[in-house]
């Protein structure tokens, strides 16, 4: 199931924008499908967007599950490295606090 972010939000600039995308991802995952997130038309995103869209998934799913069921396409190196950095860091923190 492809979620093209700009079909759901006018831009990817804030936590609120990310929250909309995060909810879309969760909706797909709850339907036992793989979420493919497309950043077609988006050059960069701030960390608060990534926190809302992706890091919030750790509240319900493990990092391993996210890696298997969430794909990111049509993206840039800035977006991808930020998603990886934030998820890796927060997943580690989740483990330490468990």
């Amino acid at each position: 199931m492809v979620i093209r972010v700009l079909d759901h939000v006018p831009h990817c600039r804030s936590w609120s924008d990310g929250d909309v995308i995060g909810q879309q991802i969760k909706r797909v995952l709850k339907g036992h499908r793989r979420a493919v997130v497309s950043f077609d038309g988006v050059g960069d995103v701030p960390s608060s967007f990534v926190n809302a869209a992706f890091v919030s998934l750790l509240d319900d799913y493990s990092f391993d599950f996210i890696k298997r069921h969430v794909a990111v396409v049509d993206s840039t190196s800035q977006i991808n490295s930020l998603i990886k950095r934030r998820l890796t860091s927060e997943a580690k923190r989740h483990l330490l606090s468990a």
Binding site: W15, G43, D44, V45, N51, I79, R93
Partner: protein, 279 residues
């Protein structure tokens, strides 16, 4: 800047008078930081009901002429000093960052201008732009004064771009004090730029400042200086990691000032090539 601020605001960050007149007759030079600070100061005073006027506005003075070209007197004075005053090719004049259009301005004005100056594709600036965008969000989340602006200046002879971004508000040390203890405001700033350190209440989760320092100083692309309340933090460029020096200052900055220096020779040309995320 502390002396200027100290003359118009008390230690408890209240205006010192009902009327303030800024004498610009000796303003031989003002840089991007000074412009941002001055604009913020005028906004802050006026929002508190202080009558602000300017004297010595002689366009023959270099600093005054610079402000005029930045449209300062059109925004804060009685109009342009010279009706042909216009932003210079080396300047992206100050813009409020607490308005809905600030992100559009960053995307549609600042980015193409910087890309042109640096002679790189816009994608080369995505990391920096992401960090600046997060600073906008932080200011919107934390600023109590709703005063904030950004100003960019290219210094071609010095091969650098200066980006100044500031708000007047609570200040990072005070925000951090909700959650952490530290010996002074400089230490608060040093703590704030560490990954996953955050004051309560924001949605940043404590990454924004760390990313700014990592992306600019950590990669050797430039320097980041942060001034907030009685603290200051310098993050100098290095090939790996960068050096950081924190300390206190003999004054108070009523909010936070980010001064980012980009070394134009070090910005790599990166194309907007789409890719999949590889976990």
């Amino acid at each position: 800047m502390y002396e200027l601020i100290g003359q118009v605001a008390s230690e408890h960050l209240e205006p010192g008078a009902d009327r303030v007149q800024f004498d610009l007759s000796r303003l031989g030079f003002i840089d991007h930081n000074g412009t941002t600070i001055f604009a913020n100061l005028v906004e802050w005073l006026r929002k508190r009901g202080v009558e602000v006027t300017f004297s010595g506005c002689d366009s023959g003075i270099d600093g005054v002429r610079y402000l005029d070209d930045c449209q300062f007197f059109r925004v804060y004075g009685d109009g342009l000093l010279r009706n042909w005053a216009a932003p210079r090719q080396t300047t992206m004049p100050f813009q409020s960052i607490l308005c809905a259009a600030s992100h559009d301005w960053l995307d549609n004005n600042v980015t193409p201008w910087m890309a042109r100056v640096l002679e790189v594709p816009a994608a080369s600036l995505y990391d920096l732009r992401s960090c600046i965008r997060e600073l906008f969000n932080n200011i919107e989340d934390h600023s109590t004064e709703q005063v904030g602006c950004m100003h960019v200046q290219w210094y071609p002879n010095e091969r650098r771009i200066g980006i100044s971004l500031s708000d007047f508000g609570v200040g990072i040390p005070k925000e951090m004090a909700r959650t952490y203890r530290f010996p002074d405001d400089g230490a608060a700033l040093a703590l704030a730029v560490q990954d996953q350190v955050s004051s309560k209440g924001g949605r940043n989760r404590g990454t924004g400042l760390a990313l700014l320092v990592d992306n600019v100083a950590g990669r050797g692309l430039g320097h980041v200086h942060i001034y907030s309340l009685r603290g200051q933090l310098s993050c100098a460029a290095a090939e790996v990691g960068g050096t950081r020096n924190a300390g206190t200052v003999p004054g108070i900055y009523p909010g936070t000032l980010f001064s980012i220096t980009l070394l134009t020779d070090r910005i790599e040309a990166i194309e907007d090539e789409r890719e999949e995320l590889e976990w």
